[in-house]
């Protein structure tokens, strides 16, 4: 979004607050700010706080008067009675996170870095890598289910089945066992590959935007010094991209924690659950009505991602502040 006039914002000398407006303007400003803010806080932040509070109750969701405090009971149950589900889900979230970083996030950066040079048809390649990103994750799941993982006819079956069917999305056996109860299951690995297909293009586009802002004379000067390609990237380009690196770290972490659609839509049985699925399992279907336990899973999810959210927001507003002060 360049091309807009970029005069620095003038330092406001007026005192601020609603007092800077008069008469009808005061009401207009209050409404312009108030209605959207109320909606946002009412439907996003109040439920967030409510989730945390409800996680200390054993409410079944039927009558509000039945809400009873039970202290840490839900959390204790999660790590004892439901420990197999919980730790497997936590492990899956962690595996997804590590996988996203070493797999598609890294690959997206490589794509961006390579496509940022003068390559013939760079927009064409960008278009191909980005196409999966505009598809919903649920559709991505179905495309992979039909074309690649179809038990009888998918490409993966064609390549590895030797004429037999392979139930890729139903195979719960651990490919990488961790202890005797936990591990990374075959069907979860299959899903990871489909997620990677979509994630790499997303990171590529974000990184390309960052690379465009790097001064090309920096790179050329470093090349003149006799540094090789990797040294230039490592010591010149990568550090100058700190803001975009923060964005990518946060987005990757959040994506790993909010993964849901593809796992849900494929109806894959156990071993592929992540925390978001456990939260929802306590709401819909047979396990429904466990508001307390579902909220406890949600609260754990919240604690895991909130630090990164704060980091992202402070990073952003510090950058803006410095921009305004400069």
């Amino acid at each position: 979004m360049t091309g807009s006039p970029s005069l620095p914002a003038a330092r406001a000398s007026d005192t601020g607050g609603l007092r800077q407006f008069e008469g009808r303007d005061r009401w207009v400003v209050a409404a312009m700010l108030g209605i959207p803010t109320l909606l946002h806080i009412g439907l996003v932040w109040i439920p967030t706080v409510a989730s945390i509070l409800l996680s200390f109750t054993d409410w079944n969701g039927i009558r509000v008067s039945d809400i009873r405090w039970v202290g840490m009971k839900n959390y204790v149950q999660i790590v004892t009675v439901f420990s197999t589900n919980f730790f497997q889900a936590l492990l899956n979230n962690l595996v997804l996170l590590v996988f996203l970083f070493v797999g598609p996030t890294a690959l997206g950066i490589v794509f961006a870095y390579l496509l940022d040079r003068d390559i013939r048809g760079t927009r064409f390649y960008q278009g191909i890598f980005f196409t999966p990103v505009v598809l919903s994750v649920a559709v991505v799941g179905f495309i992979w289910k039909s074309a690649i993982y179809s038990t009888d006819s998918g490409l993966a079956t064609q390549l590895f089945g030797r004429g037999h069917s392979i139930d890729w999305l139903g195979n719960q056996s651990f490919v990488i066992p961790i202890g005797d109860r936990f591990g990374v299951s075959a069907n979860f690995l299959a899903i990871l590959v489909a997620i990677a297909w979509r994630h790499a293009g997303y990171i590529m586009v974000l990184y390309l935007a960052g690379l465009k802002s790097v001064d090309s004379s920096l790179r050329e000067a470093a090349m003149l010094d006799g540094s090789n390609e990797w040294q230039v990237f490592r010591h010149v380009i990568f550090p100058s991209l700190k803001p975009i690196n923060v964005v990518i770290v946060v987005i990757t972490v959040i994506e790993a924690l909010r993964a849901f659609d593809i796992i849900y839509v494929l109806h894959t049985p156990r071993k592929t659950e992540v925390l978001s699925i456990l939260t929802t399992n306590n709401l819909l279907g047979e396990g429904g009505g466990n508001v307390g336990r579902g909220s406890a899973y949600a609260t754990i999810l919240f604690l895991l991602c909130f630090g990164f959210v704060i980091w992202y927001v402070t990073n952003h507003f510090r950058a803006t502040q410095e921009g305004a002060d400069a």
Binding site: L7, I119, K145, S146, G154, F302
Partner: protein
């Protein structure tokens, strides 16, 4: 890579080994990226029996539209498209309207709680949706609506409920992007307008909004895709299958079509088509919308 001869000149484009490898890697990756799309598209035109016999990646002997016809009828696709439109259009317009107002007030006037408010909106958009779903579901279950507005007579299961949660959630990102954009417009625009006695509303609607059109266009493209692609809100907050928007209707289809993966491929094409059309037609806006937030850091 060859070294640059002098500052300012580009490294010469010789076809050395590095460059050959570069093209080979990119082309091969791109080809690999197309495999799932191509496979699903090809399968969607073939009878399931044939792909089971020969595999999804094999020479097609029979090409047919049967899968599309079946998916269209059994999946009640036209109704699902309509449901999506009923949710998407108001949600998209309201999201842009609401977030542009907040962005305008926050970026063009001085407030003590400016940064706090923008932080709240930005952070809210980053939260995983599942964090808020339990209380939200209970709340939606307890808000009564007249029967002409909701077949369940509750906010839960109504189109309105989905519109509201989309607006609340998506306005986080849009406010963030729009305030960044509006901050760059010269402050003197407001001062001059105020001298002329223009009301705050006129400053917003007649001066700032027209200048913000490029950002709004980019966001509209992006939000179209995101709201269209929503799966989670509708799965939880719209339990009646018939009223589900098209993306979340997939969850039901997979049960019905369990045995026929080519039908699933055809249904996927129906779901994917509108976003693909928008993406290819408005690619420039799409990318701009996605990167405008990131560029600022």
């Amino acid at each position: 890579m060859t070294a640059a001869e002098a500052p300012g000149t580009r490294p010469q484009r010789s076809w050395d080994l590095g460059r050959v490898l570069l093209y080979a890697f990119i082309s091969l990756s791109a080809l690999l990226w197309l495999v799932p799309l191509f496979g699903a598209l090809l399968s969607s035109f073939r009878p399931f029996a044939e792909t089971v016999r020969d595999g999804a990646f094999s020479w097609p002997h029979t090409l047919t539209l049967d899968n599309y016809q079946n998916a269209w009828v059994q999946g009640d696709i036209p109704r699902k498209y309509l449901n999506t439109a009923i949710i998407l259009i108001p949600a998209l317009l309201l999201t842009l309207f609401f977030s542009s107002m907040v962005a305008f007030v926050c970026s063009r006037f001085s407030w003590k709680f400016n940064v706090l408010l923008l932080s709240l909106f930005t952070a809210g958009n980053l939260l995983p949706q599942q964090i808020i779903i339990q209380p939200l579901f209970q709340f939606y279950n307890r808000v009564p609506l007249p029967s002409w507005l909701s077949s369940t007579e509750k906010l839960n299961g109504s189109f309105l409920g989905l519109v509201l949660i989309h607006v609340a959630f998506q306005s986080g990102f849009c406010t963030f992007v729009l305030s960044n954009y509006m901050k760059l417009l010269p402050k003197t625009l407001n001062d001059a307008a105020r001298m002329d006695g223009a009301s705050v509303w006129n400053q917003y609607w007649q001066i700032i909004m027209p200048l913000t059109l490029p950002a709004l266009a980019a966001l509209a493209t992006l939000e179209f895709t995101w709201i269209y692609n929503d799966f989670f809100w509708a799965v939880v907050l719209m339990q009646q299958g018939a009223n589900r928007p098209i993306t979340s209707a997939l969850a039901n289809l997979s049960g019905q079509f369990f045995t026929d993966d080519n039908l699933i491929a055809a249904a996927s094409v129906f779901v994917a088509l509108p976003t693909l059309v928008v993406y290819f037609a408005l690619q420039r806006y799409f990318i701009a919308g996605l990167t405008v937030g990131a560029e600022k850091g």
